[in-house]
């Protein structure tokens, strides 16, 4: 980097405006993108492909900032494009967490017995929070769609707020109860089948007896 000059953080600042703008880019990268990326990894234990696509795009724009054949205006435009990709990368990280949380919560919410017996809060409270969670997500999605092409990051705080509530719902699901529930529901099902079978046998024996008698 042809960066020269003084800076309070010990890194030389440049006289070059596009390079200076890149400092802002990397500040944002460290303060917003890294936490969002770390969250996805902590949740998935895998790297999401969407984020990698965005990083690839960012690099191609950053490369142009150092292209001597381009004028200053174009180089600054490329920093802005890199920032746009960074914002979308953060948004993707947040949305991926939302998708994954949703998949897990929906499995419980759409299964009445599990919702009733495998959650460490009352069913009505769980339902109320689930509806609130969905409302927050809808609001975030609306904000996102309204700010397409203007500011992709505008909806990020709203998504995060919804995810926090989703996290609360997820944490209320009791994994021990969930595991035991599968086992006991199978036993209950076997029991009810056995009772039906026994009742059926008794009824047919009784019918045979009545038929023989009369």
């Amino acid at each position: 980097m042809s960066a020269e000059g003084d800076s309070s953080d010990g890194i030389s600042q440049s006289e070059d405006r596009p390079v200076n703008r890149l400092y802002e880019f990397f500040d944002y990268y460290r303060s917003e993108f890294i936490p969002a990326y770390a969250d996805v990894l902590a949740f998935l234990n895998k790297k999401p492909d969407e984020t990698l696509y965005e990083i690839e795009q960012m690099l191609s724009h950053i490369d142009k900032v150092f292209d001597p054949t381009l004028d200053e205006k174009l180089r600054i435009a490329n920093v802005d494009k890199a920032i746009g990709h960074l914002e979308r990368a953060i948004l993707d990280c947040v949305k991926i967490i939302w998708i994954e949380i949703n998949n897990k919560i929906d499995l419980i919410y759409n299964d009445t017995p599990r919702r009733r017996y495998c959650v460490n809060m009352s069913e009505s409270e769980f339902t109320k929070k689930y509806l609130e969670y969905n409302e927050l997500l809808s609001a975030a999605r609306r904000t996102e769609l309204e700010s397409v092409g203007i500011s992709p990051s505008k909806s990020i705080p709203e998504y995060k707020k919804a995810i926090l509530l989703g996290k609360e719902l997820l944490e209320s699901i009791d994994s021990d109860k969930l595991n035991n529930f599968g086992f006991f529901s199978r036993i209950l099902s076997l029991k009810s089948h056995a009772i039906s079978f026994a009742l059926g046998c008794a009824a047919s024996l009784f019918a045979t007896y009545l038929y023989a008698r009369f």
């Binding site: 890294i34 969250d39 990894l41 949740f43 790297k47 795009q57």
Partner: protein
Amino acid sequence: MAGEGGQKTIFFEEKYGVDIARFRSITDVDSFVEERLGRKLEVKQINSNIVSKSGNLFGIIKYDVQRKFRRMLGI
């Protein structure tokens, strides 16, 4: 850029008991998580129309270069 100001994570710090401010790049995060998992991180394909494809028309091919190279050389 609509920065939120806060640096805190929703899951990462709670799960691993570390301060995110320690991590300055994706490489820092990757190597830390890989160390905790005890394996290399894989790429997960996110199939959703909610997440953007950032203009990409091409999919990703999983390509184990080392294995293919070893096979070609017969070693």
